[in-house]
Subunit: 421 residues, 2 copies
């Protein structure tokens, strides 16, 4: 890139940030009805403009095929009438969610008569960096809007035309209800330098949500001067305790691992108490098509278990593979999880409620589960309506990040001429 | 510094971080009583060891005088019986606070029967970097302990001996109640490279609280790979509206500016509605010894008002100086505050509740105040008991950072063999 081109990108991004910050002051106090109307209008426009969106998508698909994108990448990129309808329905669902902005989180009076309220406010400006899934343009833009935040979107270059066609629906809807169209902005270049610039803009962007593969997240973590809501890995565990109900364990392990192997809430490691006969679980997993890698003790159970290496305990397979380790009890299980896990979602199967509490309290993960599949790690399953991602960090948001987690708060203090003694 | 010395500091810091992380797993589930007992024992030890602490402080004071520290720095460094008693009393007050850890923030059941709880947990490990105020060693260590967080303290080099004498009381108390003494650690070197290393340790430190002058905060902001709870400036405003009660305005402005001029909640800029006769307020301020710098309109009111430059609107004087600007109404006041302010604490004086709400909603600051002094910006005044600092950021903590803001949360999800369909 020439120095001139780098300057241009810096100028484009700075301008985008300034406009976003200005729009955020308007959007932060926009009435719920105005925001909901924008969402409903955008849903209508998606339906009305479906032919245009499919045309734009056809361009992306043709370029993607020429570029040699994998089948699964092309599948994520593809839009048809059903997927456009799902996006439109998603916007309507977000319109139905409670508006968190303005909620009084708590309030109290001081002995001197000062009245203090803690009131929910938007974070401000959210940057969302994602790969070539055009539907994220609608979802992330809508969740930001509902929570009163301006969104700066950076989609994958392969979905450039599709994302822009969707963006047109969003910005037209914003203008139709009288909100600045800069409330949802898309970076107008596919140059990767724009992301680098974005990550420095801590004056105008309050938080960045990176969604995508580990390489992308690692790069963003390394470079960003802005806080992130992110998870790098989902190395989720199920510990089958001595007091487990074996029938529940069999069902939950197979579901945790095999329901969908490619999601961050999929189970990657099975820990089994040394007094539990794990063969039925192993049989179920193998019957379901799962490869098993175990430690020495696990390997004794079934000849089909391959040896696990140290590296396996820290691997997110995202595939039909599971690592298995025999442990002496809940404490060893907790230690293993806190050492090798990724603080995402971890589960214990037990009927002993004391052991369960010990596990739920000691495991240092966003979501600690008793007797249920790790695949419930999802904003929708939690009843949050929709999520912009899952955070394994402890700052601000943790677990599924829904509209409420996209807010901050301020204090309103009301007095009557109070002076501090 | 030699390469060997740099290696040594890196090793020392990494070891300290590893120990802190290990201790945090113990401390995060320590019962409230055990933590409170440690605080009470530490308070006893501070009183019992007052002679030792004063001896250590005498060394620091002698070195400080030789180094030519200013009178105010020496005053902050100095410990006497009254100040040691105040520290001990501070620990006892923190012991009396409610323990936030384990609080169920919210809970709900899903239609499928899953029970979801959002439960408060400690953040983990908190790094506190502060200047030469030995009492911060006790306060910050105690607030961290109460909230279940391990503290890594880095005090100013001038208070080295005093801080270590206080640390001895804290760590002895930890051991006496059966908690790891590594729950509160002090960096054992005054080498500044240790701070640089600390700011990279995002694997073991969850948040850093920098307390001190603007230069220190700026350096830490630039270098840190770890989230910060911080405020850079406290450029606080009072807007006197057209519908202000002038008697309240006079009292509140003088208190906001002059009660203590050196704190972050002190008022730095006065905005006055063009229809308000500000002369009584100006007279009060000048009578109280305040220098006044005004825009052209303000200067017409009183010949003693000096001209304000553009720079004045963004200056935190921390002194008996105030800038004054005439505005056309609440919107111009809000715009000025959101442009030049520091998102700390800003106040409106008015009897018109519509204008008041408009101000409280639109000003993008941690603390928005109606008819009361900006100097109430303080955890103690808010009824939080004690604060580790004030945050002007919107992520996680905002405003006074008390024990509750030093916590995160986790989800506990309880099922009965639930599998995700």
């Amino acid at each position: 890139m020439t120095a001139q081109a780098a300057q241009d990108i810096k100028a484009i991004m700075q301008d985008l940030g300034t406009q976003a910050k200005a729009a955020s002051l308007v959007l932060s106090i926009a009435p719920t009805e105005q925001k909901n109307n924008a969402l409903l209008k955008a849903a209508d426009l998606l339906r009305k403009n479906a032919p245009l969106i499919k045309d734009a998508n056809a361009k992306d698909m043709a370029a993607g095929e020429q570029k040699g994108l994998s089948g699964s990448m092309l599948d994520r990129l593809m839009l048809d009438d059903a997927r456009i309808e799902a996006m439109a329905k998603g916007l309507e669902d977000i319109a139905k969610l409670d508006d968190p902005v303005g909620d009084i989180i708590s309030e109290w009076d001081r002995p001197n008569g000062l009245e203090i309220q803690r009131v929910r406010v938007p974070l401000g400006v959210i940057g969302i960096i994602y790969e070539s899934r055009p539907n994220v343009t609608a979802d992330a833009g809508a969740l930001s809007l509902k929570s009163g935040n301006v969104a700066i979107l950076r989609g994958g270059s392969e979905s450039f035309y599709s994302s822009h066609a969707i963006m047109d629906c969003l910005t037209t809807a914003l203008e139709e209800v009288g909100l600045p169209k800069t409330c949802i902005q898309m970076i107008p270049t596919t140059d990767r330098a724009a992301v680098g610039e974005m990550l420095t803009m801590s004056d105008t962007i309050d938080v960045i949500v990176p969604r995508g593969g580990k390489g992308l997240i690692e790069r963003i973590t390394r470079e960003s001067k802005i806080p992130l809501f992110k998870h790098l890995d989902g190395i989720c565990h199920i510990y089958v305790d001595e007091k487990a109900d074996l029938e529940k364990a069999r069902k939950v392990v197979v579901n945790g691992k095999m329901r969908r192997t490619g999601i961050c809430g999929a189970t990657e490691t099975l820990l089994v108490h040394e007094n539990v006969d794990m063969s039925p679980i192993i049989n179920d997993l193998i019957d379901a098509g799962c490869e098993i890698r175990g430690d020495a003790a696990a390997q004794k159970v079934d000849a089909r278990i391959q040896p696990a290496s140290e590296e396996d305990w820290g691997t997110e397979y995202l595939d039909a593979i599971i690592s298995v380790k025999v442990v002496s009890g809940v404490n060893e299980a907790v230690n293993h999880i806190n050492t090798y896990g990724s603080h995402h979602t971890d589960c214990i199967i037990t009927e002993d409620m004391n052991v369960a509490e010990s596990f739920l309290n000691q495991v240092d993960s966003a979501i600690c589960v008793l007797n249920a599949s790790t695949q419930f790690a999802d904003g929708g399953e939690f009843g949050m309506g929709a999520e912009i991602g899952i955070s394994t960090g402890k700052m601000h948001a943790r677990g599924p990040v829904g509209v409420e987690q996209l807010t901050s708060f301020k204090y309103k203090v009301r007095g009557d001429g109070h002076c501090r003694p």
